[in-house]
């Protein structure tokens, strides 16, 4: 199997250098317009417009050996600081494939730049340069990932750095290289372990290759599966550490119901530790906004409970509503932080033309962190 895999990888490299056997290509134009601010009467304009071009080529159907790439140009304007940005990025550049060994076993692999996420979607969720291999059997799935963040565009990927970081790039450039880290992860999952429940464990390490000395380590255990035909759950907890000197926790529980065709209801609870007892403040590797507050806080020292629902009408309009309550716990006390709601409607006019409109608000205990946001988006693929 190892020799076969090595042969396939060599073939992939050779094929990528040879004339493409069959080429598909296309593009996408999308735009996001926001008006946001502390009060409805003082909203500031934010605009993002982007054009994407992509190509893909299937070298071998049996092995699903495929080359794919996506590049983009984006213009951003933010009235809050009157800033303009022109951003060029390579969002996808990968060779991927699947080696099937028998009916139920397979090795999936990908090399290059592609999206990567940890199980929580909070610690690490971004495009990244690296290599991924997944071994799939009916009883166990095992995957490993290794890569580098150095060549990523920091306009599109925000890696959390420590206070006083040596990383201080010029954000006026169209391409800003990101801080240098080596992310690597190992994941083991046992699907259908008992009653279709899945038990999974995952470890991620992010070794700092800059002078910040800010390496981070995470270990996650998750249990998920159906409770009945229309009710699903997932429970996960993550232990985090900075330079193996601290211990923090991120826990997440999700209950999802599908009460009717086209409808779903989701209850979510998240706890990210602050300096709570023996725990230190949790901090992810990449930036993830935890709530709708004006200062866009990260998942650290907070508790959030939220309920969301979605319903699809006329097969092409999806309505989504969400409400939540946020508490903060930076130290050993818990205090109320705010309430939030969001409503959006997505209309798929055609499969290649989509528009959406939405509104959200955050009512903070500290009114200077209130936020109202109105957003309209459009996307057209060709």
């Amino acid at each position: 199997m190892v020799k076969k895999f090595a042969a396939v990888m060599l073939s992939a490299v050779l094929l990528s250098a040879s004339p493409l056997t069959g080429l598909d290509f296309g593009g996408k134009i999308n735009s996001t317009t926001k008006y946001q601010g502390t009060e409805f009467s003082a909203l500031k304009w934010y605009e993002s417009s982007a054009a994407h071009l992509w190509i893909s080529s299937l070298f071998n159907k049996k092995m699903k050996l495929k080359f794919s790439a996506d590049g983009s140009y984006e213009f951003r304007y933010d009235e809050r600081d009157n800033s303009y940005k022109n951003i060029v990025d390579l969002n996808l550049l990968k060779i991927s494939g699947t080696l099937e060994a028998g009916r139920y076993n397979a090795i999936q692999f990908a090399v290059g730049r592609f999206p990567v996420s940890d199980m929580t979607g909070i610690v690490f969720s971004q495009i990244n340069d690296g290599m991924y291999i997944k071994f799939v059997t009916p009883v166990i799935e095992f995957s490993i990932y290794g890569g580098s963040t150095r060549m990523l565009n920091a306009h599109d990927v925000t890696i959390l750095t420590p206070e006083g970081t040596a990383y201080n790039p010029d954000y006026n450039s169209v391409y800003v290289t990101a801080p240098s880290y080596i992310p690597f992860g190992i994941s083991i999952a046992c699907p259908s372990l008992f009653f279709n429940q899945t038990l999974a464990a995952e470890g991620w390490g992010f070794i700092d290759f800059s002078t910040d000395r800010y390496s981070r380590w995470y270990g996650t255990i998750a249990l998920s599966g159906p409770l009945s035909g229309k009710v699903f759950y997932s429970l996960m907890t993550t232990a985090g550490s900075e330079n193996l000197k601290t211990l923090s926790d991120l826990s997440k529980a999700v209950l999802t119901l599908y009460p009717a065709a086209g409808a779903s209801v989701c209850f979510t609870g998240v706890y990210a530790s602050g300096s709570n007892g023996f725990l230190s403040s949790f901090r992810g590797f990449t930036s993830q906004t935890a709530d709708f507050a004006l200062d866009e806080p990260e998942y650290t020292g907070m508790i959030k409970a939220a309920v969301s629902g979605s319903y699809t009408i006329l097969s092409c309009v999806c309505l989504v509503a969400e409400g939540g309550c946020v508490f903060v716990c930076p130290e050993n006390t818990v205090s109320y932080d705010g309430l939030q709601w969001n409503f959006s409607a997505v209309w798929n006019i055609f499969h290649d033309l989509q528009v959406s409109a939405g509104a959200s608000q955050y009512y903070a205990a500290d009114s200077s962190r209130n936020k109202t946001c109105l957003v309209v988006t459009g996307a057209f693929v060709f």
Binding site: T21, G22, L23, D24, G26, S56, S57, L58, K61, K64, K66, I349, F350, H351, D352, L353, F380, F382
Partner: protein, 146 residues
């Protein structure tokens, strides 16, 4: 395979397709434009079932229902087959499908969006006779009742 052929035969019974054609189609490792032209032309009544592949191909060419620059013996690609199948059914289609009047690449993408062909299909992929009949059956199920 037998079920597929049975479904296909029953679907075409009203048009008196020959079982011989279906058998030949099922056996084809690579289907050609002559074979798919016969299927399309007979279904639409451009030619009768005794017509040759040459006559069916010529009839479709006259009707402007063939992809550009293809010959009767060329192997059909997934996008070429999508273009020809989109002529058979009332496919409403996306914006680009409508603007380009069902061009091959957008017929192919429309069929992906509608679940007619797999999402990992490639437009230049050569199709077998079974692929042709599978797509025909899927189109009939999706668009046939409209």
């Amino acid at each position: 395979m037998i079920i597929l052929a049975a479904v296909f035969l029953s679907a075409l019974a009203a048009h008196a397709q020959t079982a011989g054609f279906v058998t030949e189609m099922l056996a084809a490792y690579n289907a050609d434009y002559g074979q798919v032209s016969y299927l399309s032309a007979v279904y639409q009544g451009f030619v009768d079932e005794t017509a040759s592949y040459d006559e069916a191909f010529a009839a479709l060419k006259k009707a402007g229902q063939l992809p550009a620059a293809v010959n009767k013996t060329d192997t059909v690609t997934m996008s070429g087959l999508s273009y020809m199948m989109a002529e058979l059914w009332p496919v409403k289609g996306g914006l680009m499908f409508r603007v380009t009047k069902g061009a091959s690449r957008y017929a192919f993408r429309q069929f992906k969006a509608d679940g007619i062909i797999p999402v990992d299909a490639d437009p230049s992929e050569k199709v077998s006779g079974t692929d042709v009949l599978t797509m025909y059956t899927a189109c009939q199920n999706k668009y046939g009742s409209k």
